[in-house]
Amino acid sequence: MSELPADRRYTSDHEWARGSGPEVTVGITAFAVEQLGDITLVNLDVKAGDSIEVGKPFGTIESVKTLSDLFAPLSGKIVKVNADLGTKPELVNEDCYGKAWMIVVAAAQPASIDALMDAKAYGEYLKTAAH
């Protein structure tokens, strides 16, 4: 397992969320990518201005093996979505913590990101829950 970036927070569903102000960028973790395998399709079912709710799906991701939902790590309004993923789903395999960001959310409650796990806690979670 690669190093977990310390500049962001994590969910038990293997999404990451990064941001210190009201705008939070969201993607999925290397663990999620490894579980999915070769990713062939990313469908982000939201557009700028849409409201999303914590724990509710904002899209789906398809790999050769299976389909998974993408869950919002916090509630808020969509600021932008990564349109590149529509045509280049392989970005998720290549750079899940960078170029394959999925959405930017204006958090309804700026403090909500603090409720998520930090890198150390998520690392522990992977050790205990995921295997």
């Binding site: 070769d38 469908n43 093996k65 939902d69």
Partner: protein
């Protein structure tokens, strides 16, 4: 991301929910782990779904060679004077046409003409037969054959003592040739023929069969000999591009070649005729279980057929997704589906009303509430160059 509870890949996790029996391991389990295989529960077994990645392994099989552990499959042996009669009575294809050292694909049906299993029947001699059945059906098919054999011939379920490896791909026979004279001679085997061979020091039986749409062999050996054979093949094959391949690639490869998967495309609610397996139903051969029902089915127009699907919209058809006509009315069901690495499309199989089965017919796949456009496609999706 969280795999949905109604996992769309029952082929990957089918048995986990079926019973609480402990998962079994093949004699190659340690090899899989050492090679970095990701182990999943499959039909009651712990087997690797992938090592390096499904697409990578799939591509290795299409362009060089791949090796699969399929030791979970069931092996049933019928021996004795009447064994040929017993076997022929239980299968839809004509076992009496086989010669020594020849094998055939066939369905095993019930009296209703629906499919109990799809198997390969091997004739060693007139009075020595081997049946290889699906692991998920082993108990059912073992009991079915044991019952029919009672008072007629010897029956032995050899599944626990028999390992099975598949070496598949355009370089497969070259890999075997690197294991010495016996391996080289396997290149002379015609499709669906088999012979005994000593490979890497292991007494084996190799058959020119497979489940990938490529050339290759499936090799039987004693359960505990499999690691030695596996390592010998890996060592001989690595310079030729041979890679270990898991259940994931096995599924994408077989789907591109339109080979049926029991439990997905065929089961006890489907018959061989509608499943496109009419070519293994020989009603003229004489009596067999399911014959009367299958004659009835053949005499009438088929209400539905299993056809190939190509998803043209943004989506992947998966097992169990409803199929709709262009007006949105549910008309059938997808039985298998995935991205197809060699074909480069999202493909699938599904049952549709016969009126909708012409290639090019437009339809919709209900991908969890979203209707995605698809068309009926020609199968097999992939056919190797001869």
């Amino acid at each position: 991301m969280r795999p949905p509870l109604d996992s769309p890949s029952p082929r990957v996790y089918p048995a986990a929910a079926m019973n609480d029996a402990p998962l079994r391991r093949t004699s190659l389990y340690a090899e899989h782990v050492a090679l970095g295989g990701r182990i999943v529960a499959f039909a009651g077994w712990e087997l690797p779904i992938q090592y390096t990645g499904i697409v990578d392994e799939h591509t290795a099989v299409r362009t060089a060679a791949g090796m699969f552990d399929v030791s979970h499959m069931g092996e049933l042996r019928l021996r004795g004077e009447y064994s040929e009669h017993v076997v022929d009575y239980l299968v839809t294809n004509d076992a009496r046409k086989l010669v020594d050292g020849q094998a055939m694909y066939t369905c095993v049906c019930n009296e209703r003409g629906t499919i109990l299993d799809d198997v390969i029947v091997y004739r060693r001699t007139e009075d020595d037969w081997l049946i290889v059945c699906n692991s998920s059906n082993r108990e059912k098919i073992s009991a079915h054959f044991a019952h029919a054999a009672k008072d007629h011939c010897d029956f032995e379920d050899q599944s626990d003592e028999t390992a099975l490896l598949a070496v598949q791909g355009p370089r497969a026979m070259d890999v075997l040739a690197r294991l010495g004279d016996d391996g080289a001679k396997l290149g002379e085997l015609k499709p669906f023929h088999f012979r005994d061979a000593v490979l890497g020091g292991v007494a084996s039986t190799a058959a020119r069969t497979g489940y990938t749409g490529e050339d290759g062999v499936e090799i039987f050996c004693a359960w505990d000999d499999a690691p030695a054979l596996w390592r010998a093949l890996l060592e001989a094959g690595r310079p030729l591009g041979l890679k270990p391949a898991g259940l994931g690639a096995r599924d994408t490869l077989r789907l591109e070649a339109r080979l049926s998967l029991y439990g997905n495309d065929i089961d006890e609610t489907t018959n061989p005729i509608e499943a496109g397996l009419g070519w293994v139903v020989k009603v003229e051969k004489g009596d067999f279980i399911g014959r009367a029902a299958l004659m009835e089915i053949k005499a009438r127009p088929l209400p539905r057929k299993l056809v190939g699907l190509e998803v043209t919209g943004r989506g992947v058809a998966r097992h169990g997704y409803p199929l709709r006509d262009v007006d949105g009315t549910e008309v059938g069901v997808c039985t298998s589906g995935s991205p197809a690495p060699t074909v480069g499309k999202n493909i699938g199989l599904g049952y549709l009303p016969s009126a909708m089965t012409e290639v090019g017919t437009r339809l919709l796949v209900d991908c969890r509430g979203k209707n995605i456009e698809a068309v009926v496609a020609k199968t097999p999706f992939y056919k190797r160059a001869k």
